[in-house]
Symmetry: D2
Subunit: 155 residues, 4 copies
């Protein structure tokens, strides 16, 4: 089975702060929206139209904590992950769907001055797998945190 690929890559700005949720057992996730923009010119009217697309980003565990610590509303970020559509029951008993990007890798693109993640440059922190040996205090200096995948979180 498989031979499939499910990949999303986004560069956008945070529309809100990272919201953390903690679970029993020590796991946690962070959620935040990011916006991407498209501009085009309407053929008929000739006017330029800009549209904004909002994406629901979900990060886990250490990566979530790094995002919460270093990301703020308005910051630019590169995010790579998987599309996942969750299903849930509305209060009215109807099924609702919500599509999220489950983050596997990310990189901060807003320079932070005088800060930890990297003073005065384009900060970075990432969940690239295979490098969980690095658990730096300075997340921006390396691709530190592995995005763990099998932690039985309820999503």
């Amino acid at each position: 089975m498989s031979g499939t690929l499910n990949k999303v890559m986004l560069i956008g700005h945070l529309g809100d702060e990272v919201k953390m949720h903690y679970f029993e057992g020590g796991n946690c996730i962070g959620r935040f929206p990011i916006a991407t923009n498209e501009s085009y010119t309407n053929r008929q009217t000739g006017e330029k139209v800009t549209t904004t697309e909002w994406h629901n980003i979900v990060v886990r565990n250490k990566a979530a904590e790094i995002c919460e610590k270093y990301l703020s509303k308005g910051d630019k970020i590169y995010v790579e992950g998987r599309l996942k559509t969750r299903q849930w029951q509305g209060e009215d008993g109807q099924t609702r769907y919500s599509t999220e990007i489950q983050v596997q890798d990310f990189t901060f693109l807003t320079p932070k001055e005088g800060g930890m993640p990297n003073q005065g440059g384009g900060a970075q922190a990432s969940t690239t797998q295979g490098q969980q040996r690095n658990q730096p205090e300075r997340p921006a200096d390396t691709r530190p945190v592995q995005q763990e995948e099998e932690d039985d979180l309820p999503f």
Copy 2:
């Protein structure tokens, strides 16, 4: 404005036939679902779990017609595009959301024997822009169809 990126790349199998919708003015879109799979081993139980993720694919105009002509349920395809979440009113007056992948490029990955798109190999057709000069009868032989973007389709 912008400096953003909104990109999705999928390899998966069609869960159904391509459904066409024609609009006044000559535009059309095709819709079909594709499935991607993930497998992992549950940490606690040790059992292997396979999950399927479904994606709503939307293709436009010539690309839609090529997909309708050459793709069937079960076929494997590579699809590249943009995430777009549409909003609509349910019959109950509530706002619903549906996230789609608006296709910009694609490649058939199921070999077709004795067929047009390419006899006995991995067929291909694609909406890569910048090559709209090619309008081949044999879509698999090239990246023929431009995915037009500004056609004021209602989505």
Copy 3:
């Protein structure tokens, strides 16, 4: 024929200015190097190692002119394109190879203050196809320039 994919996506910093080359017939290309970094911790020694990878970027025509106008050494950029390995004869008669990224799309990631491409934000300009209708004076406001593909440039 085909059913193949050849895609490169980079975020990095310019190691030098954009070098333009003009051809008879009006075509032109711009070349510049960009650097990406990887950090990892050496297993044996425990020391952190940072390596830099250099990439040869090639942009064409209008996109090249936008890059030349708005990009400077040190700027951060997102670049998407195709891998192409050129062959050439060294002075010693030996065949040499050089691998380049032929740009299809790009986005400026270094904020420019008070400038054209977009005052105080993450500038952007891009060669996305299908939008060659937009030929803005302010490239950062939209994805303006189509990366033309069939212009018989000598590479």
Copy 4:
């Protein structure tokens, strides 16, 4: 440091068998070439031109062994990785460059009948990190092998 991205994604056919190299200490790498194709129509002559691009793929350790076992010349594969340009001295004392794709993830796209990796479907095996807990005997059924990154291999 960083905030950079170095990503390559290819779908192509193996031009040769996987060549293994074993190192002291138990590490190994596999190398193989894959071909991607582009077709376009020459503007002046109107004739269709097909070009082939060759890519040097490098896989490590368990992933290399899976590739060697299940891939053959002509097979189609999806490969994701990083660009890396190696430098070496030619016999004439001149510096030569060779650009490789260091694989991080892959998926077999050639259906194998009656075989292990998955009977009669699109086989798959992959080095996705974060899932090294799975070490299946049937590589196609899951994303089994982690592409280890810090093993001090000489490349």
